[in-house]
Symmetry: C2
Subunit: 340 residues, 2 copies
């Protein structure tokens, strides 16, 4: 497929602190040929997620770093344009990990087919994909909210937080969301049905939480760590559970900031547990059944923030780490074709 130009965004320099657009570079290369058992696909949607900040750092994480001058990793919805694998036909849509490029070659066995009649294609990167699954498993398996308990969610209008909060609501909890703008606060309360919302940029967190969670906090779904975690710890109830799902507050930090004093964990016999969704594959079918059902019944609402064109991915990603997106951030890389 040497006639197809593959646009790729490579990691040019490792960001120090907040990434800059100059840390990324767009290149054009020939599109590779798929070998036996492989497929070539065109990226339709690229997911942008906070975890990618860790991948473009040199430090240890739960997965290998992206090498310099390599394509940045990322989940994609892709359409098959050439198949050397019997299970995939040209035109099929697949959940893939092409990363930040317009075309990619993948081994067939690593792919999952997506049925576009079930839900919008891009949902497989959000509410019905990794972020939604993270929300589901971390909330239910680690947080374990009981009816009447209070659940606090940080980054609550984001791809993970919004789903976590709505599932907590479905399970009968009082749900408080922490967000970064009044618009997002209105959204989680008025659209998503959270019991209360806090704008961390304009409200003083400790008293705002006291007011929003008058009976104390039983579950804290932590996407951020930092000052929010520290403040929440001062208001947890006996036996509180804190799934640590993300540390957005420090992804751009140039040195490792201190964490919260842990005395409240002892006093309240509470737990903090690091969460990574890949440990919960055995729950994927439950997730897909439950969350698909809640989407269809309207109990879960879902909002996307779609950026057009791969070229805009770096700027959108930088904004994501600043909390500038509103809803699940997705890049529309190309148009899906109906095959007619």
């Amino acid at each position: 497929m040497a006639d197809l130009i593959n646009k790729q965004i490579l990691l040019k320099t490792r960001p120090v602190g907040e990434p800059k657009e100059s840390d990324f570079v767009l290149v054009e290369t020939p599109t590779p040929e798929p070998s036996e058992g492989e497929i070539l696909s065109r990226t339709v949607y690229l997911s942008l997620d906070p975890y990618m900040r860790g991948r473009i750092s040199a430090g240890e994480s739960y997965a290998a770093s992206v090498e310099l001058n390599s394509v940045i990793v990322g989940g994609t919805v892709s359409q098959v344009i050439k198949s050397n694998h019997p299970q995939f036909q040209v035109g099929d849509f697949v959940l893939n990990s092409n990363g930040w490029q317009t075309y990619g070659v993948s081994k067939g066995e690593t792919l999952r087919k997506i049925d576009p009649s079930q839900a919008p294609l891009s949902y497989s990167l959000g509410v019905l994909g990794m972020p939604g699954f993270t929300a589901y498993a971390a909330l239910l398996d680690v947080g374990q909210p009981k009816e009447g308990e209070t659940v606090v969610v940080s980054a609550a209008s984001g791809a993970v937080g919004a789903v976590a909060g709505q599932i907590a609501k479905i399970k009968g909890a009082r749900v408080v969301g922490i967000v970064g703008s009044d618009e997002k606060r209105d959204y989680i309360v008025k659209e998503l049905g959270f019991n209360a919302g806090i704008n961390r940029k304009t409200q003083e967190l400790y008293p705002a939480l006291k007011e929003a969670a008058p009976n104390g906090i039983d579950v804290y779904f932590d996407n951020t760590a930092g000052v929010i975690l520290e403040t929440v710890l001062q208001q947890i109830n006996l036996g509180a559970r804190i799934p640590l799902v993300g540390l957005i507050s420090q992804y751009n930090a140039t040195s490792s900031p201190p964490g919260p004093n842990l005395m409240p964990l002892l006093i309240k016999r509470a737990l903090i547990k690091g969460f990574l969704v890949s440990d919960y594959q055995h729950r994927f079918d439950d997730f897909l059944r439950d969350v698909s059902g809640w989407l269809h019944s309207g109990e879960i609402k879902y909002k996307e923030d779609v950026v057009l064109s791969l070229e805009n991915a770096p700027r959108a990603f930088i904004g994501l780490l600043r909390g500038e997106n509103f809803g699940k951030l997705i890049v529309k890389v190309s148009t899906e074709e109906n095959g007619d």
Copy 2:
């Protein structure tokens, strides 16, 4: 019993930072009479434990603060000298909580009789009492060490740590203890059979741990928090478990110090869980059976640091918070009588 003079140590002023002897005052008062259902007992042994530092502070903890001008709380082994309760006879030994005083009146139903033929009386305040039970339940129920895993214990020659490390050894783990002197390091390695010991005052912790725990850390039995916890977190394995049993490093702090950065919890999907032994009463019989057995078989060794006379309790307690004791700190308040 107005003819008996009761010596009491009262909290005179709330300590700021490290307690001073002048924060305590010794008074002599008449000994009260037991009412119906109560017993009067003479304190034979008083236990001194780090948790008492929290009780003499004003801040929130898992139990109420000691009021100013009140007797400091504390577990005791006491001998009944007058009984208005049918289950207790004069001369019986009981596990009690007379606190820092020579006599105390207690409701009979709050007491447990101790059989002095089973083990030395004072063991009920240590290896066969609250500290030993803490070690047992926090290690086995939260830490859950598996054979061949590496367990690190801080304050490892102390009343809790020494028992935790030896139980981990019995369960087939590689055990590393962190202590505050060469003498204590020799003790835990040569006497207690720990695989390695680290003197945190003379050794650099990170490389010393790397060497002592070359396969990483699976369980960290945390008595201290602070810099030890922070360093351990950098060397934990996937799925590590950290029972947070004490925060000795900060009990004398005048303001709440920051804690460790929690990124390693996420990367390693590890957990920290606050532990309080009173939540594990259902395990007490298991504990007493197992640890008594290991004591008799010689698999668990036990060392006491006995201070004579109630007057010396404040100084001994101050030393305990500095790590100056060597073994379980006990005050011998009076001599037990055989009743003959």
